[in-house]
Symmetry: C2
Subunit: 150 residues, 2 copies
């Protein structure tokens, strides 16, 4: 599966992952561990907040998107090694939402200083069951070049 070297990556290649559904309990459990704010913890308290109802932590959406990507997302030779990127949450993720990640390679750059590798920039849209985008992660991944290994 992990057979994609830098030479195999091209702008415009796309992948789609499987899906995962969050219920209110999953949202609250993640929040208790990592993001203890009322809009992630309690339906009633959430009504009076910015989100006007229970919403998942953005970091839960990020972590679940990563799970989908590692399960059957992008088949890079070293795995998914992220140097960093840009992340945004255009709208909240709600109890009952089913998430799927749609990925597209938007840039491929061989390293000048280390020609055995490069950076592949992948735009990952996490969409809910209505097709609305709940997260955009433009990730810079470290990918080995076939030429130059071993």
């Amino acid at each position: 599966m992990n057979d994609h070297y830098l030479e195999d990556c091209a702008v415009g290649q796309t992948w789609t992952t499987g899906s995962v559904t969050l219920d209110a309990e999953a949202i609250k459990a993640f929040a208790r561990a990592y993001d203890m704010q009322p809009f992630h913890l309690d339906e009633e308290a959430a009504k009076a907040t910015f989100f006007r109802g229970l919403a998942a932590s953005g970091w839960q959406v990020a972590a679940l998107s990563m799970r989908l990507l590692t399960e059957d997302g992008v088949p890079f030779a070293w795995g998914i090694v992220g140097a960093g990127g840009e992340i945004s949450w255009p709208r909240p993720t709600r109890p009952g939402d089913t998430l799927t990640v749609h990925s597209e390679i938007v840039e491929v750059t061989r390293s000048k200083s280390r020609p055995d590798r490069g950076i592949v920039t992948v735009r990952n849209e996490t969409r809910n069951q209505a097709g609305d985008v709940v997260q955009v992660l433009k990730a810079n991944l470290v990918v080995p070049a076939r030429e130059g290994q071993g």
Copy 2:
């Protein structure tokens, strides 16, 4: 605690959170749930990878940094409501590392279209016990203006 409105935010304000320590078991447990790659799951398998040893998922570092910030980080009136931002992991987080987040306001912008709120950009450095930066999160937070509420 959550008493910081847009008018109270100024470039250069800083906060420091408490700390959290990760052991190998915590790294593997997070990976089993969200990031099933060999360098996050198994010490032996990790030796032959990019990371040359067990390393925490970047999303675990992000989630734990959020926990520290919500525990006693940045006291904004609506809580920590992130629209998005830039994230990077300059070096791996290893078993036994103790993480602390150092935050600084780097930009304050009132919304032109919705003057009851603005965006406060906070640069959050997560550092290990040696002072090395393991994550930089430049986060755009939605913060209400005192003038214009209720």
